[in-house]
Structure formats: structure tokens, C-alpha cells
Amino acid sequence: MSANAVPMSQWPSDHRYTIPVAGDQDMVTVTIDDKVVQVPRGQLLIAAAQEHGTYIPRFCWHERMKPVGMCRMCLVEVEGMRGLQISCATPVVDGMVVRTESAPVKAAQDGVLEMLLINHPLDCPVCDRGGECPLQDQTLAFGPGESRYVEEKRHFAKPIPISDLVMLDRERCIQCGRCTRFAAEIAGDALIDFGGRGGHTEVITYPDEPFSSYFSGNTVQICPVGALTAKPYRFRARPWDLDSVETSCQACAVGCRGALDSTSNRLVRLLGVDSEPVNHGWLCDKGRYGYEWVHSEARVRAPGLRRGMELEVTSWPQALDAAAAALRRVRDEHGPGAIGVLGGARGTNEDAYAWARFAKGVLRTDNVDAQLADGLPADVVLGMPRATIADLDRARAIVLLGPDLKEELPVLALRVRRAAVDLGVPLIDVAARDHGLTSSAAHVIRHAPGVVQEAVDQVASIIDGITGDGPVVVVLGRPSVAEPAAATIHAASQLAKSHGARFLSALRRGNVHGALDLGLAPGFLPGRVSLDAGRDHLSATWGGTPDATGFDATGILRAAANGTIKALVLVGCDLLTDFPDRALAREALSAVERVVCVGAFPDDSAERADVFLPTGVWGEQAGTTTNLEGRVSVLRRKITPEGRTMEGWRIAAELAARLGSDWDLETVEEVQDEIAQAAPAFAGVDAALLRRARDGVVLPLADHLDEVTFVPATPGAGVSWEPLRPAADEVGNGEVAAPPAPAVALHTWSMEAPAPAAAPRDSYALRVIAARTLYGNDRVTSESPSLARLATSDARLLVSARDRDRIGVEDGTVVRVTSPRASVELPIHVDRSTPEGFAFLATNRDGAGASDLIDLDAPVTDVRVETLS
């Protein structure tokens, strides 16, 4: 424990043991079943034994949670200690002699398993867990094989839903408390607990309050029996029919590792894989069940060409020819600057690189942006001093300067919570309203949107009072799209200058960091180099680069609206829902002459498309993705796409070929090798390394060489209820060769960020905070039936109770909300997180709402609220 540990008085009472952290501890000698081994002092015996090849059976112990000692399955003999000891709560001490297979231990294992089974229904044939069940497996390996119990078993109504996603079978439950402890300890959503006593102990929710945690699926994964089952997976497969690959989740930018299972060419399950630097085995429910959208009936599975009002299904050659011809004509007639390329933050790195090369190397336009005015300037993201997720654990302090992580980057929220709650890192919460991590914060600082100077001064003085060697880690993102990023960036620059803060990006889209790193941003080329710095180097591979820096997304849409930009290529983005200023997006779309859509869904913007080129999506496409810390990890193809879709990078290559540039790239590995050569930040990160690195590699490799780890390939990743271990294709504990120095100096952020003028407050107006919620009208949610029912689809104006009272209406009343830009009608609701004088609007909602009210030119969005007469 570090010096700034949370006082133990604040720990949950039953979970007082520190999680042993390998590293600096001294080693002690322990004898386990006559085998003498060296283990870190204080490590729990069960973990120490496992690391040295002795598996002690267990149900309640989970290595990512604190021991509770409930199941009594892990009893062992320790010389000198009276009776049997639970190895899950016994720290090793020097000279300890342990026996895990002696007669008393065997008798206890037999006995505990017999007890666990007396009330277990043994309805294995109809249980999802059957075939991969720890109770089955450990009964086979350690159990008595027969029962002396002849009485009636305990009965409960079963199964019962405890949330929209999770079903509970109380008869199968063995009361290990893994789910309840996960909810309380890890997720901080203590919505389930035990009720009843003794043989009538059951997992319960609060009355009329479901287990509506964003992390509920983890409880299903770690349940050692089939007591908790997931509605999306129930009865969909038998475990032995599943085929599994390890991949990264792209539902947000955390990049959690997961094991993706399919059967009969349909994705049926994603399980969290325990990647030490990233997700610790956890997934959010959106990531876990969001695979369903891949099979959505709404997907476009064949190229389309506009004929009159309709997009008609056509062949790939025809569609590609048409798209290439349209772009060529615009370029030839109006110059490369007349083409804008938007999007690309949801594909693979290889897609992003190919689109960057197509736009900047072939079309030669720099009007390229993967972000849609809802993120941070590429200048900042690509050049700021970076932190890794693991840095959170050893930080001197963590400063939250961005969106609600629980809503936008859920598993990052878990890592921040762990650092703050378990490891005692002071968490400083700077925001306009309360959010999912506020309760874990040591310091809570509130400020008005767009006004941060005072808050930054407070943060600085708090940090000054904290001693510690670790870095100050600022989680930096866009707290609200209702005002520009300037105030947040100004705050970040001050903390960088005054305290050497390092930054963890809180941009959300699945591969937005890969897209920026690979050049899908104005003024940049692949590999975190500026256009000017990288021009010569990239031109050598590409044959040319844009002449001048282009516009960002807002600039592109303005140019399109005023007729300067004539053609738009939309790569996996829907301007009418993704862009925060809907009026501008609409204007731009109606003004441009040509729109080429590359995507998976016939979204609103696609109605304007002249050509629609359908891409493969996550699960169908191999490649790599980059998470918010700059970690490049491998995406695997699990199923064969239905219909006629094409990988994104291949579409770009085909278009390039039609515009006279043959890239000679045939496989995704070839694209990866070209990236390693051409993109300076990717130096050394070639296909061979990516295949072997167990948790991916963090860019630039030269700075993170020590963190690259390899594991021998393991046959099968383990059983899912245990933390799944990352696997790698190749055997070996190889060393990473030091990469060649980047051919071009990587971009650094100047940290010059002037403070925006404070917008005066109008005491009659409410200042809008606009941000996303986890479930909304996005495609992952709306096209995944299991998630769609969790979403609130209607837009609401959330205000404090006092503001609602002042307006003088009941909750749910529709009111008129007027900004300088527009007037919309929305129902008003009281929200405890929103302070007086502010209003919260979720951006990912159908119908009129935030993006109608926001004017990107205005420093803030103030609205007046009137009752309808």
C-alpha cells in the first residue's frame, strides 16, 4: 500500500486484505506438496500455489477480488496451524509447509462438495453452464462422486429476472458471493446482495429496483455455476460447440480484451479476457452484448448506386468505378481541397491508414477528420504527454477533466475506481455535474461549463498537498459538446506546465485514437507526425502529400455548406446523428454535389449518398485497433460476413487503384508492415510483433519496450469463470528488438492554449451540458436487441429540482427550450446530478434535442425554458 492509502476505516469491512501486487516485495520460501518454491511475501497461498502449478479448488475466490472465505473449498493443511486453513485468505510466510492433497484435505474437499451439491438441482442438461461448469469440473476432479443426501432439495421459483439482461436461478446458486462482491467491490453498483439466512440464503435485488448495472454481465461470467445466466446467450449454444478467438472490443476506446465465441457462423458471446494493463477481465454490458448488431437485418450487405431517389443494389466494380469517377471529377475540376473525408474512427488501424493514404496520398486533400467536433484537437491528442491505464495505479493523483467515464468509457471508470478506492490514489473530480465516479473521488470540484480557471487553481493546490513519486494523471476528454473544448484544453495545459501532468485520452469512439495516429486528422500524416514534418518521409512511400493544412470537421462542413467543398466521403459516420450541430450538417449535406458513403448501415446521411460501399465490421474483419492509451492490439475475424461487404482498407485500395495508384497490398499483414515502415510512431510495430505480443504494444514502442510481454500459447484460454488469460499465437518468451528510431520526430503539443473568454451568465437561462449516455440511439445499442431495450430513446431536459420548481411544472411536462440557434420542445425531468442553473441533455437521442440547440460558434449553450400554454 502506498503512503496515501485510503484509511482502512473507509474500506468495506469484509474486504480488508490488500491485493498482493507483484513487484518490489521480497521473496519467501514455501513448500507446497514437497515442492520448494519462491513466492512474494504476503501473497495469498492459493495464488502462490497456482503460479507454481498446484491448483487448489475454489468457488468463491477470484483473483481480482478480495478474499471472503465463504465456500471453504480451498482448505489446505499448513504445518503448525491447528486445523485446515482456507488458502484464499492465508498469506504466505517464510518457511511455510503446505499440503494440498493430504487425507484431511481430501476429506474436506469431498465433504464441501457433497454439501454444495445437496441442494443443487443438478439440472445440468438444461443449464448454460453445463460443459464449462466449475461445479461440474471440480466435482469430477475433487468430489466424492456420490451423495448420502436423500431428503428433498431446497426449491425456489426459477429462473427469475434480476435485470433486463440477467436471470437468476436460486436453486443452482452456491452462495459464493462472487456476483455480490463484484457489484459492490469492483463495479461500485451494490444493487445485489444476499437475503435470507442459512440454507435459505439467496441473492436478491432491492425491491422494485433491478440489477441495472452497466457491468452486470461480468457477474454471469464469474458465476461458478449456472445461477446467473445472460438473456442474450441463454440456450443459444452448447459450450462444446463454440469456437473462440481472442480479440479487442471496439464498442469504446478502452479496447478491452475479450474471447469472441461463435457457432454456425453467428457470434453468440463475448467474454472478458484478463489483460493486466487494460481491463482486468471485465467488460461493460454494451461491449459484452453489443456483438448482436453485427447480425442486424438493417445492415447494408451489397454496394448501392443512386438511381433517382433510390440506392440500387449494384456490383462492386460498378460501385467502385462510380465512386472513383465522382471523386476524380471533383478533384480535376475543383482541386483536391474540394473533397472532404470524414469519419474512420470505428474501423481498424489498417482501414484508417488506407483511408488516410487514399485521401492524402492519392486525392491529396487534407480536409480529413476522424473526429466530428465532439472530441479534442488532434494537435493536443497526438502531442500531449501520455499516460497509460496502468499509470492510474501508481499516480500521485488522478484528475478527471472530461466526460462521465461510466457512460462513455465504462471499463476505464472501473480502473479509475480501483486506483482510487482500492489503491488509495487521490481522485480529483472536476466537472460541471455529478457522475459515475463522483462517489469515489477524494476531492470534488464543480464549475460552470466553459469556466474552469478557478477549478484548475483548486486542483493545483490540492496536488501540491499530496506527496508521492507517481505522475499526475489527467483523464482528458470533452465534458460537454455544448461548448468548445478550449476551456478544457486550457486547463490541461496549465496542469501539464505546472505539475508535469500526463494525459489519458478520454475520446470515446472505438478506434478514434488509431484513426488520429494514422493520419485521419487535418495537418497530420500517419504516425503522429505533422504534415510539414512528415511530408518528405511519407511522400517516399505515397508519391505525394497534400500541399497545405486542411479543415477539421467543422471547417469541412462549413466549406461544404458554402460550396467550397463539393464532395464528401463519409467513412462509417452519420453526420446527422454524430455531429453536434445538426443544422450545419444538414446544410452541408444538401449543398455538396457528391457524397460517397462507406459504412454498414443505411443511416440518415446515407440517404444523400451517390454511392454506398458496405464494409465488414468488428468480428468480420481482421486487423488491429488502438485504444485510448495508444495500445495497438489485434482484432480477429471470427465469422464470414454475409452478403457482399468488403474490408475498409481494401475499398480504399480499390478506389486508389482506380485513381491511378496501385498500392500492391494484398493482405492485412502487408498493410501492417507498411504502417510500421511508413508511420513513424509505429516504428517496429510490424505484423510479426503484433501476433506475439500478449497485451498488444503501446506507441511509440521505444518508450514502452519493457511493457511488451509474451506468453506461451496455451491450449484453450482456460475456463471462463476464472480470469481468462491472454493468449498469443506463437510460443516463446522472445525479446523485442529495439525499434529503429522514428524516421521523423513525433509531434509534441506546444501546450499553448489561451483561456477562452468567460461567457457571462444570464440568470434567466440554464446553461446546457450535453454529453452521451452509454445506451442511446447509437447503432451498437439500437441494432442489438438485448441492448436496445435498455436505451432511453427520447430526449429529456434534466434540471435540478429547484429549477424545475422555478419553472413551475410537473416532472415529464413538455416545455419549450430555446437557444439562440433554435427552439425545441422537450419533456423536463428532475435530476439530482445536475446543479442549479444548468441543464443536462443527452446527445445520443432520437428526435429534436441537443444538436439542434448547439451552435458551434457560440462559447456556451444557454437556453431559456418556457411552459407551453
Binding site: 469484509d14 474436506a108 452456491i174
Partner: protein, 440 residues
């Protein structure tokens, strides 16, 4: 000469039955808080020494040395807490109940002295939820203590501050286990915690905590007033002083009797409690609450001495002596106790959670003529999972003592009536077969 009570903690409440619980009566007629006045003039360490010298052992059940427990607190670790265990729930134990209702000031005074001795500034009395009258009287006593400067800031001008909180439980036996009590006090389910760490090291809110029983607290003022040596002068061997025993069952005069330790079971049962009622013979008796293994007539002349009880394979536990005459079926008693434990098992440890229910089901059929010939062996068999060896002091596979306690009745059945019960089970099975044949 017939044995007599030796009243120390019960003297006042026995003498003044109309208003012993009131502040005025206690202060005027029982020198209440005079020990506190004396203690405030002493060093905390001297107080711990005095209590250690008295040989006082915890009156809750485990019988651990009180002064020794206090001395286990890690040096210089603060805050510390005192939690007074007033969750008296062991079947047939009703001594604390009486102390709480009849002499709450004695408890409050002892708690303040103890808090001062261990340098705690917050003390909690965890009161069994069902004690409604007790809650009123205890709270009134605490309020009076605050009003008279014995609690709160700067107690008696000493500069020492203490807040004492009376907390009512929610009806759960296992909250009487010291770590279960702490969990409950923190607002969680009353489930025992893994030890180590012991409460003295990491207890309430993970701070060093002393958990002491009501009777122990009631004794402390007397030790402070009269001296540790005086107290150690009573009793026998390492069981010093007096103890209150709740005698119940088939006796003429059930009730609480405070006796000097060392008095024999026979003296307690025959002289004080009036002997087995109705002139019947003694069948067996349970010496220390439902958790303790049983004794029989041949043990009547054994002294009430905690260490001697251990030698006999049982314990004086919570001081509840249940007497059963010769007509009582021990199997039925075993079943009823098993039913209690099955109901009160907290559900944390598998062997206790599942085993206590299994035990109850098998004992039920055994007691009701539906037993199977090998049922006693079955109990002794799966009992090994709950308490390896099925012996006393018990082997444990569970966190707390409730697990092995469930086996005490079975252990006693097997020890005293093994052959008899096996024969009876065989006969029962035989009779059922005969009935089936007859009706066929």
C-alpha cells in the same frame, strides 16, 4: 450446608427491585459511577493491570482473559473502539437480559471505564433487537450519564471524551459472534469475518476494537472499586470471581443465580434451583448454552470451572444450564437445537449453511420414529465436514463457532446413547417394514 449465591453484579438489582434501573437509585444506593470517578484518577495502563490481576475472563462464552484481550491492542494505533456485546441470543441464556433491564448503569459505567482503559473515544452497545424494555432503560441510562457528565466531552473534568451509542440489532443470532457483531454494526449483514486479523487489531471500521460481553462490563466497576486482588480471591483455579448462571428446564426454581466459580453443578441445580422438578431423576443437562456438549448425572459433582469443563469435553459457554429429566428424549432435544442452528446459520460457510439444514432433517426423522438404521452414523459421517473429528474442542472448517456448535448435540447423543439410539433406529425401521408387510 446448602450452597449460597455470591452476589456481586446482581446484588443491587436483587435488593432494590422497584427502581434499580434509575439513575437516582443507582447513584444513591449503589455508588454508581464511583468506580468511574476512581478510574479517572488512574492511568489507563494501571486499569488494564488491575483487570488482568483480577483474572476476569470474558462472560460471553469463549472465556478469554479480559485484561489480556485489552493488552492485545496494537500500540499507538488510533482510533480504537469498544463494542459491548449485548446481543444475548444463545438459547436458554437470560443473564444479560436481566442485567440490561435491571441495572443498566452498571453496564454503562463498566463501558466507560473500559473505553478509558483502552483509550477509545467511541463505544457501542450492540443490543439484541428484541430487548425492547432493555433498549428503553439502557438508552435512558446513557442519557442520564450524558446529563451528569459521565459521558460526552471532558468526562469528570479529566479531559477524556467518550460517546456511547446504543445500537439495536435486527434479530440475528450470529450478530452475537464478535466479528458478526462488527459487520452488523457497520451496516452490513451480520456475517462473521475471517480471522486473522482479530478485532483487537482490525475490528470495527478496520480499527482496533475490543468486544466485551455485558456481564464482563458489569463486573469491571466492582474490580475497579474493590481491586483486582479482591476479585481474584473469589472463584477457583483460573476461573476467578463470580458468574451468573441461567438455570432452566426441568428444575423447581429456574432463574439466574450468581455464584462463586467452583460451586458444583449439583449445588447449583439442587440447592439453588431446587432440583429436578416433580421429583424426577436427572436425565442430562447442557452446561453452557445450546452450543456446548452435554453432561449427565455422573458429572454433577464437577465444579463450575471453565478449565475443568474443557477437560470434560464441553464448556461453560454463555452460562446457560438446561436441565432435562429422565423422561425427555435426548434425540428430540438434539433435533430442536439443530433446528435452531439451521435457522440461525448465517449462510456464509458452506459446511454450516448446508450441513445445519441436513442435520436438522435427519434428526427430525430420527426423533419421530422415521429414522434409518444408520442415521446416527450418517450424522457422525457428514458431521466431519462441519467439524472434523466430531469432537470437543472442535475441529473447524468454518469461520466461526456456529458450524461446529451444530454438532454438539449429535456428539453427545453418540457419546452417551450411541448403542441405544442405533438399536432404536433399527427397531423403528423394522416396525415400518412390518407395517408395510401387514398392510400389503
Amino acid at each position: 450446608m446448602a450452597a449460597q449465591e455470591t452476589r456481586v453484579v446482581t446484588k443491587f438489582l436483587r435488593e432494590r427491585t422497584d427502581d434499580s434501573w434509575t439513575f437516582d437509585a443507582a447513584r444513591t444506593h449503589n455508588k454508581a459511577y464511583s468506580a468511574l470517578e476512581k478510574a479517572m484518577g488512574m492511568e489507563p495502563a494501571a486499569l488494564i493491570d488491575e483487570v488482568t490481576k483480577s483474572g476476569l475472563r470474558g462472560r460471553g462464552g469463549a472465556g478469554f482473559g479480559t485484561g489480556q484481550k485489552w493488552s492485545f491492542l496494537p500500540k499507538d494505533v488510533f482510533p480504537r473502539y469498544l463494542a459491548v456485546n449485548a446481543d444475548e441470543g444463545e438459547p436458554a441464556t437470560f443473564k444479560d437480559h436481566m442485567l440490561i433491564e435491571k441495572d443498566p448503569h452498571q453496564i454503562v459505567e463498566g463501558s466507560i471505564i473500559t473505553s478509558y482503559a483502552i483509550q477509545a473515544h467511541h463505544a457501542f452497545i450492540y443490543l439484541r433487537g428484541e430487548f425492547a424494555l432493555g433498549a428503553d432503560r439502557l438508552q435512558a441510562a446513557v442519557d442520564d450519564a450524558y446529563a451528569n457528565g459521565f459521558l460526552g466531552k471532558n468526562i469528570l473534568g479529566s479531559g477524556y471524551d467518550l460517546d456511547l451509542i446504543v445500537h439495536r440489532g435486527a434479530g440475528c443470532y450470529i450478530a452475537g459472534d464478535e466479528t458478526g457483531l462488527l459487520s452488523s454494526l457497520e451496516g452490513e449483514r451480520a456475517m462473521p469475518r475471517i480471522k486473522p486479523p482479530f478485532p483487537a487489531v482490525q475490528g470495527l471500521y478496520a480499527a482496533p476494537t475490543i468486544v466485551n460481553n455485558v456481564e464482563t462490563m458489569s463486573t469491571v466497576p466492582h474490580i475497579v472499586r474493590e481491586g483486582g486482588e479482591w476479585y481474584a480471591g473469589m472463584g477457583v483455579n483460573k476461573s476467578t470471581g463470580t458468574r451468573i448462571f441461567s438455570v432452566s428446564g426441568n428444575v423447581e426454581r429456574p432463574g439466574n443465580y450468581e455464584i462463586e466459580l467452583g460451586v458444583t453443578f449439583r449445588e447449583l441445580i439442587d440447592d439453588l434451583a431446587g432440583g429436578v422438578s416433580g421429583g424426577k431423576k436427572l436425565g442430562f443437562f447442557i452446561p453452557g448454552g445450546a452450543s456446548s456438549p452435554w453432561l449427565r448425572a455422573e458429572h454433577l459433582d464437577e465444579p463450575l470451572d471453565m478449565d475443568r469443563a474443557a477437560e470434560l469435553g464441553t464448556m461453560l459457554g454463555s452460562g446457560a444450564i438446561m436441565v432435562f429429566d429422565e423422561t425427555i428424549d435426548p434425540v428430540l432435544v438434539a433435533w430442536r437445537i439443530a433446528k435452531f442452528f439451521a435457522h440461525e446459520s448465517c449462510g456464509k460457510c458452506t459446511p454450516c449453511r448446508e450441513g445445519s439444514g441436513w442435520l436438522e432433517k435427519v434428526l427430525y426423522r430420527m426423533a419421530n420414529g422415521l429414522g434409518r438404521p444408520d442415521d446416527l452414523d450418517l450424522l457422525m459421517g457428514f458431521g466431519n465436514t462441519i467439524s472434523p473429528g466430531v469432537t470437543w474442542p472442535p475441529g473447524m472448517t468454518t469461520i466461526c463457532q456456529l458450524g461446529p456448535s451444530t454438532m454438539s448435540p449429535t456428539l453427545s447423543l453418540n457419546k452417551y446413547w450411541g448403542e441405544e439410539i442405533r438399536a432404536r433406529l433399527a427397531k423403528d425401521a423394522d416396525r415400518r417394514t412390518t407395517l408395510q408387510v401387514a398392510s400389503a
